[in-house]
């Protein structure tokens, strides 16, 4: 029996311990905001937070989440400054990759309050967007950093 938390709620799992967290979230817990894109940690669509750090849930087996605190997009209180910036810059096209992008960006901004373009490229290049919204993602992260700073000084 694996015990862990998802978005603050206690959970247990006694299925296949090799099952990736992604499929637990989507098919068992019905938290479908986390997306499947590749299953090989190549695209970032499945990004969630494990104890606050961004991870790829498609390659994280359930046996590794015991005791962990998992946060998915559903566990982010809207509108988070990153989500606000995403709306303002009108980042999404199809939107499929965007929850993964947002989770990655939130994790980045937690560690780095004012990331440079270079920092953003490094943090975000694991997240593919076939629609090609990278320019807007970069702009939105800068904007979110400003929102976050304003919130903190307020």
């Amino acid at each position: 029996m694996i015990r862990f938390k998802v978005n603050g709620k206690e959970k247990t799992f006694d299925g296949d311990p090799d099952m990736p967290l992604l499929w637990y979230l989507r098919d068992v817990a019905q938290l479908t905001g986390t997306k499947f894109g590749c299953g090989m940690a190549l695209c970032g669509a499945c990004t969630v937070h494990q104890n606050g750090a961004a991870i790829r849930s498609c390659t994280t087996p359930m046996k590794e989440v015991g005791g962990a605190e998992i946060t998915t997009i559903e566990g982010i209180e809207p509108m988070h400054p990153v989500q606000t910036a995403w709306m303002e810059i009108r980042v999404p096209q199809c939107g499929y990759c965007q929850t993964g992008q947002i989770m990655q960006a939130i994790a980045l901004l937690k560690d780095n309050k004012d990331p440079s373009d270079q920092d953003i490229d490094t943090a975000m290049s694991g997240n593919l967007c076939r629609c090609g919204t990278y320019q807007r993602i970069r702009a939105a992260i800068h904007q979110a950093a400003k929102h976050q700073a304003a919130k903190e000084t307020a």
């Binding site: 098919d27 997306k35 499947f36 997009i73 509108m79 096209q93 939107g95 929850t99 490229d121 919204t133």
Partner: protein, 749 residues
Amino acid sequence: MKLIENVSRPVSRRGFLHGALAGGVFVLSARFIPEPLWAAEGEAAAPFEPSLWMSIAPDGIVTIVAHRSEMGCGSRTALPLVVADELDADWSKVKLEQAIGDPKYGEQDTDGSHSVRSSFDLMRQVGATGRVMLIGAAAAQLGVSPKDCTTEPHFVVHRASGRKLGYGEVAAAAAKLPVPKKEDVPLKPRSEWRYIGKESNSLFDLPEIVTGKAIFGMDATMPGMVYASVEHPPVLGQKIKSYDDKAALKVPGVQKTLTIETFKPPHVFQPLGGVAVIADNTYAAFQGRKSLKIEWDSSPHSVYNSAPFRKTLETTSRQPGKVVRNVGDVDSIFAKGGKTIEAEYYAPHLAHVSMEPPVAVAEYRDGKVLAWAPTQNPQAVQETIAGVLGIKKEDVTCHVTLLGGGFGRKSKPDQVAEAAVLSKQLGKPVKVVWSREDDIRFDFFHSVAAMYMKAAIGPDGKPTAWLQRTVYPPINSTFDASATYALDEMGLGWNNLPFDIANHRAENGPADYHVRIGWLRSVANIYHAFAIHSFADELAHNANKDPVQYLLDLIGSPRIVALDLKGDEAEEAKNYPLDTARLRRVVEIAAEKSGWGKRPMSKGRGMGIAAHRSFLTYVATVVEVEVDSKGQVHIPNVWTAVDAGTIVSPDNIRNQFEGAAVFGTSLALFGEITATNGVIDQSNFHNFQLARMNRAPRHVDVQIVKSEAPPAGVGEPGVPPFAPALYNAVFAATGKRVRELPLSKTKLV
């Protein structure tokens, strides 16, 4: 099914409208009728049509039907915005209802960059008719003449007294009024548009997308459903000889295996066939597949090897083909024996790889199918499932979710048919999930192409004759297994060269298919523009001319280019003539914005240009590259100028063209699908790479030309000029002329 419907669409569809009162809600529907029946409009009253374009509830909430799919291009938002504008509705009180697949909406294939183009006038009429009826009802209630009333968002206002009634208050009365004739429905002048063309427009689904609440096909469920993953025949057309599922059935969560019959050619959108693993969840289904042992029979397509196939295409491209456009006489010019230049270009297969792989959930019950799918074409879902299961098209109901990208792949609903076939066998709803590997290996691929170009050069360096041949397995092979010519695809940048050259001939040669071929964002325009604009740049450098000036010289004076078109293309050209003034303008704007010829270029830096009209939209793109000491290409800047006629949402258009530059980067730098003995070599993002943030253009500037011309396409036209502009920039930076896609195959240093 005729291919032409998918690549070059007839625009001659009209609808008429009628009002009705359904459950206290004012509804307005337009029923599409074929052109010849149009005359009958005034005679017979339309039968009650449950297809609703819009309704207004007593609380004022306006519900507008979105009959186009949303895959990221903005169609689902754009068309309702047009209705809302003419209705004078308050957008914050508008809800969208996604239409199911049904011919009563007319054609619903969200493809070919034509959603706004084909439905703009009708949507305006729907909104404007509703507005006239609301005014009529309000005027009666106020005891005034409709002529003395106007509207402000969501209210009818009596001008003189300022008295007003909300749309919700008069909706029920409006529904009882006769529907005014088209002539009696004034459309707003452009100056009064509230939403059309406005910066403030954003995607309707934006809040749901950023909070993870948006429902894509991958997220659709049905009560009691099981999950399925299908092991397809590795080579197109193979059938199962035998299979052993013992090990698969031992995998935790696996319930059983089922087979799907291999299609009979032509494959169209039928399932590929194979063995399906049915399981409690997606992971178990994927795992179960790994333990299947399947023996496949042979297929004629196992001869497919990309390297020799390329040679075949190139050999064909050196032979005369079918002439698709002829101006003057190129042969007599070549025969004179003056200076000529020849070049050959090559472009490989590409896969769509929308971030959401193909997926669908369907239930078969009592001879009927209910499906939820991320499809660009819900009517094709109906047709395909009906055909495969032998039921009536009307007995297939297809709901459309949001699409996690489409790019043309999701016009083909083979995975939805798989779900229906499996559900029929199981007696339960089935969700079929394709892995990324399935998506890449079993795509309807963008075709592999070889182009041969030859020009005779006059004393001024300009071509006096220009011959171009293109050879590739046609999309039509998907519908007709004997098809070898791509004559239906010549409108995609081959039979409409906009250059002012006295002698010109365009040809198409034959090629066999060995994988499923389909349309991918901008389709044959990709390789056609690559060949034409690489060649134009070669000629410019050969003549020692500036490429922008040379391009403008090639385009020549402002004029309507005489084209030799037939059928639908000829019809379309009446409303959308090929206008070199518009093409020149985008070239000039892109060049000016980029500082062409004025910016000092350090070593390893260079700029290139290409301009291409596709989907009736004029686009010019300048790409700046920096080639580093390792030969890696970086793209600091892209400038694109776009003339798409009348537009609905400018910011969305910028987003589309920014995205097209990234899509273009992916195919120019990395994109290549190859086959060995009929089996596709690539499988996931490690060997079919896409541009990531660190390789994508750092800055894309999009200039939209103000235009009152009829609306044209925006989803696709940004793609074709990108690769040739990039390659021309690489030439400027390195002196290396590369004539094949993708660039990663060529060492630059």
